[in-house]
Symmetry: C2
Subunit: 196 residues, 2 copies
């Protein structure tokens, strides 16, 4: 079964994190969340990440770059939430991993302000999207799109909590196929006419 490493930090948008992790687990993907401490912050034990709206989430592990390479996981995910995305996207170790995953032809997902990691990781000009609040930081360096989910080679980007389900379902489809996407989607009971 495929596996995913999902970053989390203080200030991560907890809906984007949870929808992605949970949906991938429903598809049978082994998920591991890794806590990225803010620059200069003291680590705590246990390291509960405080989400952007105050929910405390217990990461599976501290982020240890050496055990997170593209030989270990099939997908890397950077969730949004302004403060969390800033912490994660400014981490030099995260940036290096993003480049390594793309170079190794492994998937990298970024949602909301998490798309800033494309810029900080110096990924080349290509189509992407993000939360509108960080569009101005991205649209001169990328082919900025307002689609809910943008797949550009191995880079998959999305917009916000409202696009987190189609983002997660797209990742399921890319890892395991369209049939698995439908199998996971059914029991979630989306309203009729939901466009994803």
């Amino acid at each position: 079964m495929p596996s995913a490493l999902i970053f989390i930090a203080d200030g991560t948008e907890e809906m984007e994190f949870t929808i992605t992790y949970d949906t991938l687990v429903r598809a049978g993907v082994h998920c591991q969340s890794a806590f990225v401490p803010a620059d200069g912050s003291k680590t705590v034990n246990p390291p509960v990440a405080k989400g952007s709206r105050g929910i405390g989430i217990m990461p599976d592990v501290f982020f240890e770059p050496a055990s997170c390479g593209p030989d270990k996981f099939d997908l890397l995910v950077v969730p949004g939430g302004a403060k969390g995305a800033e912490t994660i996207s400014k981490s030099a170790a995260v940036q290096e991993l993003v480049r390594k995953y793309i170079d190794a032809d492994k998937l990298v997902g970024m949602i909301c302000a998490g798309s800033l990691a494309a810029l900080t990781s110096k990924l080349p000009k290509q189509p992407l999207t993000s939360h509108p609040s960080v569009k101005a930081e991205l649209d001169s360096d990328y082919e900025y799109s307002e689609s809910s989910v943008v797949v550009s080679g191995k880079l998959v980007t999305s917009r916000g909590p409202g696009t987190a389900f189609p983002f997660a379902l797209t990742l399921v489809e890319l890892l395991l196929g369209k049939e698995k996407r439908e199998e996971v989607r059914g029991p979630m009971i989306f309203p009729a006419n939901t466009p994803f």
Copy 2:
């Protein structure tokens, strides 16, 4: 500002919990999550709730019925997740609070298997919905509906992770009005044509 008490237990569906809590916080609702231990389970410190798909969530408080009455909060929420909903809906203290909230004309929200709490709390026959997996347990005692969100007086029920956003936005509207619902919905960036 209104306030909400959101139950959580081991096995709670973490998307339903997180989407409801986070969306309410975005609307300015003060949210407190309360951990309901499974019958006979040992309490741990800190009491991390293990969600239905393995995400560890740190509840704000242990559930102490005496400090959770309808004089303290405007809304009570029972999330789904088979095991979590069973633990919460079988708690006599939860059942008593559900009746007290309804009697005090305060809102009670139930989603997915969480709707079983209507039955265990002996709420009278009325329209409701739930996850299809528990429909058989509810449809002889209630006017079972397959709508995504059912508002019956102060009881608001919904179906699953895929209806958690319209469930949460309906609670926002009932607490704070239609304008606040739209104000919260905008920055979430739902795809065009999303039917809620």
